[in-house]
C-alpha cells in the first residue's frame, strides 16, 4: 500500500469520519509576521501561518527554506526577532519549550529528543513526572501511557529501552510524549525521513486517528507525495518566506513543486553526450556498519568509467555519506571490495584516505565545515589539505610556506575565489568562496576520479554555474565523477547515469536521459517496484531497476 492509497482510505481508518470541515473560526495556531535572523542569514521573514483545529496542515519547502526554524520558534526553541503567536485565538508569549508545552504544543523533532538509556515510560514522563517521587507517579504515568496507546492505537512496551527500539517505534514514543503532555497541536518535522515505507504507512494512519480526535497537526516535509496523501491544507515556504497557501484538494503536485522552486531558472547545463571509456573504479558488494552497528552500506556495487558523471540521488541519510567515505578510504569496508587500477581494497587489505588520494582520487566532501576545511586555518593551509605531505610543499624538515602560498594564490585565480588572499582565515570567506576553494583544491590536480558531495550547497547562483561548468569540463577531459547531491535538479542536469540509494542500498540505476524527477522521487522513497501500481499521476519507472 502506498501513501496515496492510505490517503484514499483514510476515512475508513477514521471510522467513517472525514476531517472536520474548516468551519471553526478561530485557528488553532496563528503566526503573524514572524521574522528570525541568524547573523546575516534571514531564516524567516514576515511569515504568516494559520492552522485550523483538527486538520493536518502541511508545510512544504526545499532544504533551507526556513520550515524547521519556523517550527522551532513555535516550539519555543528559538525566540523570534519579531512577530506574534496566537494559540486558539489567544496571544501567547512562547519563550521556551516549557511555554510551548503549556500552550498545548507538542513537537516531534527530526532528530528524536529521547534518552537512549531510558525506558519508554521514563522518556514519556521526563519533564511531566507529576510528582517529585517516581514510584507513585510512574504508576499513574504507566496507566495514562497505556490508555493513550490504546486510544490512539500506538502500541509500545513501556519498559523497553529506547536505544533498543527501531526508529519507527522511537518516533511513536515521541508522539506519545507529546500526547502525554496534553498536546492539542502536534508538529512533526520531516517525520518520514528516517522511516521505512511500512513505518511511514503506520505513521500516516496514526496521524489520521489523531486528526479524527481533534488534534491539529503541522507536518513539515519536502516530499510532495506526503502532502497530497495526508494534509488538508498546505503552505509553501521558499527562502525564508511563506509564498503560498492552498487547500490540498485544490492543488496538485505540479503546482506545489512550482511554488516550492519558484521561478528558478531550471539548471540547464549544456553538455555533450558522454563517451565513457574504461572503468576506473569498481565497487563490488561493499557493506559498512557504523559504530552503533547500523548497516549504512548494504551490498553496494557500482562502477565509474572515465568520462562520465554518475549521480547519486536519494533522500539525505540513506548511505550517500558513507558511500563517499568508503570510496575515499575514510571509513573501512566490512564486506566486498573496491578496485582502483591494480589495487583491490578489501576488509582484509584495507586502504587509507592517503593511499586512495595517491591513486588520483579526489574528494569534495558533502559538508565542507565538517570535513572539507578547517575554519581556523588560513586559506593557504586549507588549499593543501590532503596534499600537505607532497614534496613540492616540503623541505626536509620545514614546510615551504612560499610554495604553499603561491599554490593557493594560483588556485584562487583559476577558480575565482575572492578575496584573493591566501593568508586570510578561511572562516572569513563566504560560503561560496569556501566551496570554490575546496573544489579548486580537489579539481586542480586533474584527478582520475572525483568524488563530489553537494558541490553547490550554500553557494550563490553565479558560483553554481561556474562549478557545474567545471565539473562537465573535467568529465570531458576524461575524469570519472561520482556526484552526490540532495538537489535532484542538480543530479538530473549533470549526470550521465543516475543511481538511487535508499537505506544503504542501490534501488535504482537509470540512464540520465531516460530519467525524470517523478520516477526518481519514487525510487528515492523506495516506491520503485510498487511504483508501477500507483495512480497514474506517477510516471512509470522506465529505468533499469537493479534490485
Amino acid at each position: 500500500m502506498t501513501v496515496e492509497q492510505i490517503a484514499t482510505s483514510r476515512s475508513d481508518v477514521a471510522g467513517g469520519q472525514t476531517a472536520p470541515p474548516t468551519t471553526s473560526k478561530t485557528p488553532a495556531i496563528e503566526l503573524k509576521s514572524i521574522s528570525k535572523s541568524f547573523g546575516p542569514v534571514k531564516a524567516n521573514q514576515n511569515v504568516d501561518l494559520k492552522v485550523l483545529p483538527g486538520t493536518i496542515h502541511g508545510i512544504i519547502g526545499e532544504n533551507g527554506a526556513g520550515k524547521s526554524t519556523l517550527m522551532s520558534i513555535l516550539y519555543g526553541f528559538y525566540e523570534a526577532d519579531s512577530g506574534d503567536i496566537f494559540i486558539n485565538g489567544k496571544k501567547q508569549d512562547i519563550r521556551s519549550s516549557k511555554d510551548a508545552i503549556s500552550a498545548g504544543i507538542g513537537m516531534v523533532h527530526q532528530h528524536f529528543m529521547l534518552v537512549e538509556t531510558f525506558t519508554v515510560l521514563e522518556n514519556v514522563m521526563l519533564g511531566a513526572e507529576g510528582g517529585s517521587l517516581l514510584n507513585k507517579s510512574s504508576i499513574s504515568a504507566r496507566d495514562e501511557l497505556l490508555r493513550l496507546s490504546q486510544e490512539y492505537s500506538l502500541a509500545v512496551d513501556p519498559d523497553a529501552l529506547i536505544g533498543e527500539l527501531p526508529v519507527g517505534l522511537q518516533q511513536r514514543v515521541e508522539i506519545l510524549k507529546a500526547l502525554y503532555r496534553g498536546a492539542e497541536i502536534l508538529i512533526l518535522d520531516e517525520p518520514t525521513g528516517v522511516l521505512t515505507p511500512q513505518e511511514t504507512e503506520q505513521l500516516f494512519k496514526i496521524l489520521d486517528i489523531l486528526r479524527s480526535r481533534g488534534v491539529s497537526i503541522i507536518l513539515i516535509t519536502h516530499k510532495l507525495q506526503e502532502i497530497m496523501a495526508i494534509t488538508d491544507r498546505v503552505s509553501v515556504m521558499r527562502a525564508g518566506t511563506m509564498v503560498s497557501e492552498r487547500e490540498t484538494k485544490d492543488t496538485s503536485k505540479n503546482e506545489l513543486a512550482e511554488l516550492m522552486v519558484g521561478r528558478k531558472v531550471l539548471l540547464e547545463v549544456t553538455k555533450a553526450d558522454a563517451t565513457p571509456q574504461e572503468t576506473l573504479l569498481e565497487a563490488k558488494e561493499i557493506s559498512y556498519r557504523d559504530e552503533d552497528g547500523i548497516l549504512r552500506l548494504d551490498n553496494v556495487s557500482l562502477s565509474l568509467r572515465a568520462g562520465e558523471i554518475v549521480g547519486i540521488a536519494g533522500v539525505s541519510g540513506n548511505g550517500q555519506t558513507e558511500l563517499l567515505a568508503a570510496l575515499s578510504g575514510i571509513c573501512p569496508l566490512h564486506q566486498g571490495s573496491i578496485t582502483i587500477g591494480d589495487r583491490e581494497i578489501t576488509p582484509q587489505t584495507p586502504s587509507s584516505a592517503k593511499e586512495i588520494r595517491e591513486f588520483g582520487v579526489a574528494h569534495v566532501p558533502e559538508d565542507r565545515h565538517r570535513m572539507g576545511m578547517v575554519t581556523a586555518f588560513d586559506a593557504k593551509e586549507v588549499a593543501i589539505m590532503g596534499y600537505h605531505d607532497d614534496s613540492s610543499y616540503n623541505g626536509t624538515f620545514l614546510m615551504n610556506t612560499k610554495a604553499v602560498e603561491n599554490h593557493c594564490r594560483q588556485l584562487m585565480q583559476d577558480y575565482d575565489v575572492r578575496p584573493e588572499d591566501p593568508n586570510l582565515k578561511s572562516a572569513n570567506f563566504s560560503g561560496g568562496n569556501q566551496q570554490k576553494l575546496v573544489l579548486a583544491r580537489e579539481m586542480d590536480r586533474a584527478p582520475k576520479i572525483l568524488l563530489v558531495g553537494q558541490p553547490t550547497r550554500g553557494v550563490d547562483i553565479g558560483a553554481i554555474e561556474f562549478i557545474h561548468k567545471n565539473l562537465i569540463k573535467m568529465r570531458d577531459t576524461g575524469s570519472a565523477i561520482l556526484l552526490v547531491s540532495v538537489e535532484l535538479e542538480e543530479v538530473l542536469s549533470l549526470s550521465d547515469r543516475i543511481i538511487v540509494m535508499f537505506e544503504g542500498r542501490i534501488v535504482g540505476d537509470v540512464s540520465a536521459k531516460d530519467a525524470d524527477a517523478c520516477q526518481l522521487g519514487l525510487l528515492m522513497g523506495n516506491a520503485g517496484e510498487e511504483g508501477t501500481g500507483t495512480p497514474s499521476d506517477n510516471a512509470v519507472v522506465t529505468g533499469e531497476v537493479s534490485r
Binding site: T375, H388, Y393
Partner: protein
Amino acid sequence: MSSPNKTLPGWIDIGLIPLINIALAFLVSGFVIWLIGEDPIEAVKIMINGAFGYDEALGYTLYYTTNFIFTGLAVAVAFHASLFNIGGEGQAYIGGLGVGLLCLLLDQYVPLWVILPLAIIASGLFGAAWAYVPAYLQAYRGSHIVITTIMFNFIAAALMNYLLVNVLIARGSGSPESRVFEETAWLPFMHEIFAWFGAEITRSPLNLSIVLAGFASIFVWFFIWHTRWGYAIRMLGHNENAAQYSGIDTKRVIIGTMCLSGALASFVGINEIMGVHHRILLEFTAGYGFTGIAVSLMGRNHPVGIIIASLLFGALYQGGAELAFEIPTIQKEMITTIQGLVILFCGALAFMIRPTLERIFSNFTQENKTAVVE
C-alpha cells in the same frame, strides 16, 4: 558556528581579552592579599624587587622560568592536537629519573660534552615513554587522556618513591636520595659560564638549561607552524573529521604529539637534576608540571606567549619567596593561589567577558556610523 569570530576584530580576541583575563586574575589575587590584612601594592613592590631587583634574584627568576618554559611548551603542544596533558608533572619526574640514571651510569667515565646530549636523549625518552601509555590508551582504547595522565602522575610518584627508598638510595644515607654525581655530570651554572668570560655575576641556580629552553621554544614554533607534522597536529586539534579526510593517521598523531609533549616536560629533569641538585631526589618537580598548564593557557599555546608567561611565573615564584621573607603571612601558597586564578580566568572563564565586549564594540561601531550620518 564561525559567526562569533567575525563580530570582533582580531586584536580584541588575541590581544585585549587575554589581557583583561590576566588583569582579572591579578585583581582577585590582590583582593585575597587585602583580605588577609596585607597591602597588595606593597606586596607587588616587594615581589618586583625580589624578582628583578638584583642579579641573584634575576638568576633565580630565570631558573624558575626555565622549568615553566619546558612544562608550558609541553602542555601547549598537546593542546594544539586538542589533547589535555595534565601529566606533565609525572613526565617531568620520570624524565628526571632518566637523566639521573644516565649520570649515575656515566659520570665516572666520560666528560660532560658526552653526557649532556645523552642525558637530553635519555630524559626525552623517559618522559615520552611515560606519556606514551596514556596516549596509546587514548588512541587505541578510547580511554580519556585527562584521567589517565592524572593517574600516571600518581603512579610516577609512587614509582619514584619506591626507587629512591629501596633502590637508588645512596649507601649509608638516611634520606631517600641517590649519591651526588661526579662534577663531570654537572651542567655549568650561568655564573660559572659568565666567569669563563670574565664577567662576574652572583651565584644562583640558573644554569645552561635555559639555553635548552630557548632552543626548545624555537623548535616548537617551527615544528607546530612550519612543518607538515605540526600541520597535522593542528588539523587534528581543530577538526578530527578533516584530519581523517586529509589522510592523517590520527592515532599516530595523538601518540606522536603526546610523546613530544612528554619529552618537553621531561627537560625539567635536565634543569633540576643535572643543573641544580646533581642527584636524584624526591619531588624535585614541585608542581612545575601543573604550573605549565597556567603558563600555556596564559601564553595562548604560543612559544612567545609561553616565554612571557614563564617569565611572569618565574618572577612570581622568586618574588613570592622574597615576599614570604618580608611578609611572613604571605607564603608561597599565595603564588599557588595566583596560579589557580590564572587558570580560572585565562582558561575556564576565557570567554566570560566576550559577550560584554561584543556589546560594547557593536554599540561603539554603531555610534560611529550614526556619527558619520549626522
